[in-house]
Amino acid sequence: MAILAGQGARGARHELEEVAELLGAGIAKPLLGKDVLSDELPYVTGSIGLLGTRPSYEMMMHCDTLLTVGSSFPYTQFLPEFGQARAVQIDIDGKFIGMRYPYEVNLVGDSAATLRALMPHLKRKEDRSWREAIEAGVAGWWQSMDAEAEVAADPVNPMLVFRELSARLPMDAIVTADSGSSANWYARQLRFRGQMRGSLSGNLATMGPGVPYGIGAKFGHPDRPVIVFAGDGAMQMNGLAELITVKHYWQEWADPRLVIAVLHNNDLNQVTWEMRAMEGSPKFTESQRLPDVSYEGFARSLGLHGIAVDDPGDLGKAWEQALAADRPTVLDVRTDPDVPPIPPHATFEQMKDAATAMLKGDPNRWGVIKEGVMTKAREVLPGQS
């Protein structure tokens, strides 16, 4: 059995854990539900979809029962095949229930109250082999993520930026991510736990909300540390200007820590990769390359803290400085645009399209092939590095 728990399940943490325990289920979390359940639970398979994890994908492809709670996750191809699973949905809003999958029962209600009402009707699943397989897959996946983040890159592997933060995240942190490759690594590399909150533009997937979400979070919770992940594209679109708003207000915040980590690769990287994987098209430099800007230099010109990182060995120390700073920090990390945001289930066709794009004369072809092969190898051979 698989459970899909979205943002509407935020008030049902204990009930979800109890139901998953009873039924021996795993729980996948769409992007907006990333902070609904701790990633330290061994049966939480993490994110799902194009930015998802392999354990979520495997669980959905093989389950015989699906329970969706508080989610309108839009990508039906990541849910079980029609006819494979019997499915039930719980949602607070009758206008949004019953779509995306042929559910047999659509229960409109508060997620916690509805799960509590269901519990007396559930029988404990005594055969725990499904659950054990999920837990083994999850453990292996996190090992793979660690190994992937460790793959050497030129100069810094973007995954390492997230991984070095993940273990250092304060338990009350609020994390935002902009749309683009930031969202990819946010989804797959950060392990949420405790009271951590996180969000991004889940459905509109607009560029630009990372920094302003962070500012909104600071006004809502001035006593909590906030971390923003934004690409250089989003910073140039509007994030840099909004740093001026940060300069204007940060001294009002009880906890002045607002860390803006910029993935500085001079590339509109997510779209560059989508073009390669989906269209089989090489990178079109005129649309994809970004002019070089010093994000930490701009931050320092505003009296904020600025840290430039171009050596992966300096990342841990940089995060510690930023999380101990007495003011907001821009962490300007030179990341490698050739590290591929390969979906968990990357099909042979997609890999072939990407390879074709390379052969058509992609300007980054050699770096891409090297990083792609090394990264994919870490998923196939978990624990190897």
Partner: protein
Amino acid sequence: MASKPTVADYLLERLRAWDVEHVFAYAGDGINGILAAWGRAENKPQFVQARHEEMAAFEAVGYAKFTGRVGVCMATSGPGAIHLLNGLYDAKLDHVPVVAIVGQTSRSAMGGSYQQEVDLLSLYKDVASEYVQMVTVPEQLPNVLDRAIRTALAERAPTAIIIPSDVQELEYSAPSHAFKMVPSSLGVDWPTASPNDERSSGPPMS
């Protein structure tokens, strides 16, 4: 200072009564009456100045996502209202309660292809499909604002109210106990919805 409270003074008072503490906003002459009232109100709720109206809307969305409260943003008529749109669509697609308050040209100029005049009721019809209204007389204000807030919370969606600049400066006059008046009240308590124990309606299980 006007001797009697204006519509704009009352707008801020009503936002305070709803416990709105921050309004993410950007100035413009379509909301000058409200900005003047803000000065008289000692910046309560706090006017948070973004660099761009779209950023103000994103800030309201982020605020609402992380607090569970309604986010409020404000912008001037025409370009300001247009700039808010992308952030309001972000709220709509992610089911986040946000109220946008925007200015409009004076009633005397409306329909006259006037400076900064765009048809905001039409422009906002999709993004604020759950509730968008223009306040044209003071007596409308409390109900329109209260419904915008309650609808945003009830539907987890963006809503919008449009206040022409001359209306902002009218003396406030409360709805009375009379025909064609719509008085209003503050607050709302939500139930915890749970399913029936027995399925009483709907198609049978296949």
